[in-house]
């Protein structure tokens, strides 16, 4: 049976939540290294307007399925103890966190390499879309580089 992993979070990911998740891993004394990636909504300028927020939508069932596949591949490739991923849905204002990738391992190289690979796969493979809401009522669709 596939464990439901709560990939999606409504709105921004709170920094206190991140602190708590770190804390929850301190009972696992076989862990020697954590690697964390946080995506934060950047207030880019678009012409004379700034991005004030990003509204995220997703093909949720497909994204969860794909995330499961990414997770299995990470555990098969790297000697990891834990791995957690949270992605926002809905509106995330500029300056707030929209993606939280957290890998833990006995040794640093596995934690760091897995975290980086997972971030790249999320950007390229998860069916999630960001709509950049500009000052005023305009918007543009986010493009990943």
């Amino acid at each position: 049976m596939k464990k439901k992993r709560n990939l999606f979070v409504q709105g921004p990911i709170a920094s206190a939540f991140i602190g708590e998740r770190i804390h929850q891993h301190q009972s696992r004394t076989e862990i020697g290294a954590h690697s964390i990636f946080l995506g934060q909504v950047r207030s880019d300028r678009v012409g004379d307007r700034a991005v004030r927020a990003i509204a995220y939508t997703a093909y949720e069932e497909m994204a969860e399925e794909k995330m499961h596949e990414i997770r299995e591949a990470a555990f098969a490739t790297y000697h990891l103890t834990c791995m957690h991923v949270y992605h926002s849905l809905g509106v995330v204002p500029a300056g707030e966190i929209c993606l939280f990738v957290f890998t833990s391992a006995p040794h640093r190289k596995a934690a760091i390499a897995a975290c980086e690979e997972i971030v790249e796969r999320i950007k390229a493979e998860l069916p999630v879309w960001g709509k950049e809401l500009l000052e005023g009522d305009e918007y543009q669709w986010k493009i990943n580089s």
Partner: protein
């Protein structure tokens, strides 16, 4: 049959769920969609059927769920 539409493609379709006439395969489905929304002709997207991205001509059943996926932009 049902077609889900995501991201910037909803600017073209005006809706995130379309009801379309049953199509025997993905080729005929795309033809039908492009006829109804000519802007899809030049739009970048992948077609998924039942959450699997489809690259070759694939048969459809009446209860297949198709989805139009523009380039992903999560994170």
């Amino acid at each position: 049959m049902k077609v889900l539409v995501f991201g910037q493609l909803t600017d073209i379709t005006g809706s995130d769920t379309l009801e379309v006439a049953e199509a025997p395969d993905t080729g005929r489905l795309l033809e039908q969609l492009k006829q109804r929304f000519p802007a899809l002709e030049t739009a970048a997207f992948l077609l998924a059927v039942d959450q699997q991205v489809i690259e070759n001509l694939t048969a459809l059943s009446p209860d297949s769920v198709a989805a139009l996926l523009p380039p992903f932009s999560g994170g």
